[in-house]
Symmetry: C2
Subunit: 584 residues, 2 copies
Amino acid sequence: MDRYEQVIELAKRRGFLWNSFELYGGTAGFYDYGPLGSTLKRRIEHIWRDLYVIQEGFLEIETPTIGIEDVFVASGHVGGFSDPLCECIKCSEAFRADHLVASIVEVPDTLSNKELDMIIKENGIKCPECGGELGNVYEFNLMFKTTIGPGSGRTGYMRPETAQGMFINFQRLSRFYRDKLPFGVTQIGKSYRNEISPRQGVIRLREFTQAEAEIFIDPRDKKHRDFERFAVTIVNLYSEEGQDNGFVEQMTLGDAVNRGIVAHEFLAYHIALTNLFLQRIGISQAKLRFRQHKRDEMAHYAIDCWDAEIETDRFGWIEVVGIADRTDYDVNAHSKMSKTELAVYVEYDEPRIVTNFMVKPDMGKLGPVFKGKAKAVSEALKILPQEELEKDEITVVIDGEEITVPPDVVEFAEETVKVSGETVVPHVIEPSYGIDRILYCVMEHAFDEEMVVANENDENPEKEERIVLRFKSEVAPVQVAVLPLLTRSELMIPAKEIVMQVRERGLLVTYDDSGTIGRRYRRNDEIGTPYSITIDYQSLDDETVTIRDRDTMMQVRAPIKGISDLLYNLVYKGKKFETSGMPI
Amino acid sequence: MDRYEQVIELAKRRGFLWNSFELYGGTAGFYDYGPLGSTLKRRIEHIWRDLYVIQEGFLEIETPTIGIEDVFVASGHVGGFSDPLCECIKCSEAFRADHLVASIVEVPDTLSNKELDMIIKENGIKCPECGGELGNVYEFNLMFKTTIGPGSGRTGYMRPETAQGMFINFQRLSRFYRDKLPFGVTQIGKSYRNEISPRQGVIRLREFTQAEAEIFIDPRDKKHRDFERFAVTIVNLYSEEGQDNGFVEQMTLGDAVNRGIVAHEFLAYHIALTNLFLQRIGISQAKLRFRQHKRDEMAHYAIDCWDAEIETDRFGWIEVVGIADRTDYDVNAHSKMSKTELAVYVEYDEPRIVTNFMVKPDMGKLGPVFKGKAKAVSEALKILPQEELEKDEITVVIDGEEITVPPDVVEFAEETVKVSGETVVPHVIEPSYGIDRILYCVMEHAFDEEMVVANENDENPEKEERIVLRFKSEVAPVQVAVLPLLTRSELMIPAKEIVMQVRERGLLVTYDDSGTIGRRYRRNDEIGTPYSITIDYQSLDDETVTIRDRDTMMQVRAPIKGISDLLYNLVYKGKKFETSGMPI
């Protein structure tokens, strides 16, 4: 069993992740979050919201998962969101053509369908399932398609990303933020990608959760107001140059901007915020790097893109967050498609005096030369760009006819006007998170096995293996387990009272009285419960309980009175376990 | 403008609710939650989770929104989740046939398609849009359909409810809860209903959010362990009898169970929990009632169903929650379809001694009579039911041949065995919430207009109208507004410091320095911000600020030190405003 298998086995057994529709044989590309997985996911999302919504102030919106066609025509998904598909003529199994040739060519995803066809034929590649002949490669659009309303209805698609719901609300959002740049907006929700044949479990899903932020900034100033906060943050950067030469550099983000490695402060700030988030939820620093998109893989309109990549045992480095400067591409695309001006009027701090080059046609001279066309020539001259007017021969087009205007009928002048601002199309900085992959990585990085003393309470030297999920206490699904030492009502009743008390503090607590205490500790180690409370006969005498720390298996004794505040501080406030009671 | 229009106008203007895809002309049945709407929604969901997940311990799971066909064949949605559809032959507009005849017959939703056709023809009903002839009525399935994977792929549907994702996980969930009844599970997520022609705005959506709980209980015991908690809770019950006779009764849930109005304690407990939830988020008690399903509208398998209904200005009483005892219908449906036993083995408290009726065939006598068939006859006798064995003439069937067995070759006996438990198929109690409707009702019930003094800080007697959303502070999207009295940096800087301080306490706070202080108060009244902090020149002297209460517009002065804890206690802990500082 490799680490992936170990994690998934535990995840299934303990109620983190289940194959969807297993009762009916299952379907690839879908996973259920069981009770613990769903809770873990919500805690990860909660921390994301704390950072992006509460701290950064990028308010969240929620838009439908079904979208109409216009949106995805404008975004380019109807035209270009596809993979090359190749079907077996014999057994009809479908494959991604670029995957079929992956062992033959180095960068198969840059090949055209014709090139893929050729390589498949030349190398005699057959169906990996049945050995049959493969058909021609064609593009398969990855959006799930449906119909809105009855009859022929209206074409709808399940959204391939949450981002478009934010872009098409640009006007309303801008008004909400009173047209002041920069402003940000976020969305956490389901997105869909009808993968041809997903084979990587929870890493490649057909339905997945994204958390995206779109930050609309002034394109003329990409400095970040609070950059100081992260200028000294050290991250692992895998720059374009580093990829060419095979090295990852540890450096501060201040240096990265100064050396021109990261394009600007705003992008660097968001690399730092991503770094902060991933470490807060428990991703190890050593297994986290930021990889720059190389010029030939980056979207043509983008200025700079960095992927947060996390190292996993089976899949190597996988992309979990993309952080991009998408320029004004998305806003312009929707502006064009909807024929609506999408821009922000930015006032200058002080009105500016601007000198404009002016043309003053002399009607007294134009009239005799151009007769009835004089007026039209005059108007045409007024809108000619400056460089046309400065030519030796000035030409205008009136009703399709080219007319040469003698220079002496035109006078030029300069005019100064007071301008109080200008209209700009904002650029977009987009951090885009794949929550499902991140959740898997959190589990893998938390997963640990070790040999420990079999019976913690006795002094038994026998050793056994324990599996433990070393979750950060802030993300652990079950935060506290309450365990009466024995199934006797004199212990069970006060145990249940403690459960109620801790619940009221808003902590997720479980009560467990089945099996030996050692077994119950192991069970809670396996699901990553950071603290276990045990009620024993001493508790009845002195109103204290033991608290056990998952990671060290150390135990302290603490009074029942105030236990829920103590646990709250341990889980959320970074209280040290050693200071929580009398060591045992 | 009626109240609905007023609320929706405010909701659009202030960023609560927006028509989806407005940039492209919009599509009926979809709404966006703007920044404030989305935050309001999350707060409502958070309280729901507090009650159901934390307090009741019904852990949440998350299953895909796309489902495979088997699931919805078993659930009955492929066969029966449809509305009668009627299209105009001339303009192709689609209508719900039962809506077309609503002014002619009293209960149009009980009519067959043939009956609907007849009524439309007899009454000469034409297309309401263009006056054209209407086509025949047919059933339109309300699930959005799609295809999973390439090629002909596999049929998928957008789920019409979150419930099925929980039912098909019954086995795994039961194991998770160690096969102990009762256990509960919840899910909050998107569901879909491809409405024929939705015309009620946010009340009837094609994509909506459900919060559902499925509680699996022992069918032999529907008492609730904690019923005492709610036995004295008074609710407005609109029972079947009440509906027949036109009265709503206020009564305790204890009485309702004792008088046989609500079927049993478990259902009554969940009516109370719904009542508690709706009041906690701000639904007025006077506009909330529980309506029992009448025998002819209730699903055939259900034992008792109650809808929580909320009174709205435009739509009257609308259903927002359904609370049903669905018996073992769903579990059995999936058991049958998947050919898998879905049940729980329930151990008795004490093993029971059970007496079984036994048959003892006497081979010594059977042999001579039946020869080679003696063994088969013996086996057949053993599995005959008791009533067959007690007949005067015992008949068994061997290889299709009916054989009469003389009574004297068979002996009977009774055997006592020890049985430690039995297998039961649990019944399901299901509270099912429509979150979008509830959110709208919270806004409508919070909406208020009143005449107030125009300038609160001066003693100006001029009156003006203010709109105020009187949200409970626990659901208000923006919890605190921080307002420097003037746009002077000596006030703005400390104001921003307070923003940071309050943010760190996890409260959603906005900073606003544009416009007069009166205007800013009004703006915050309109979005329901419960508390506004103003920083003035006195603040610089004595380190205090004013806190203004949205509802009463009263102001107190409180020290900046500790302001974030004070606000937290006001928002979440029910601290009284009057005790928060020196009255002004």
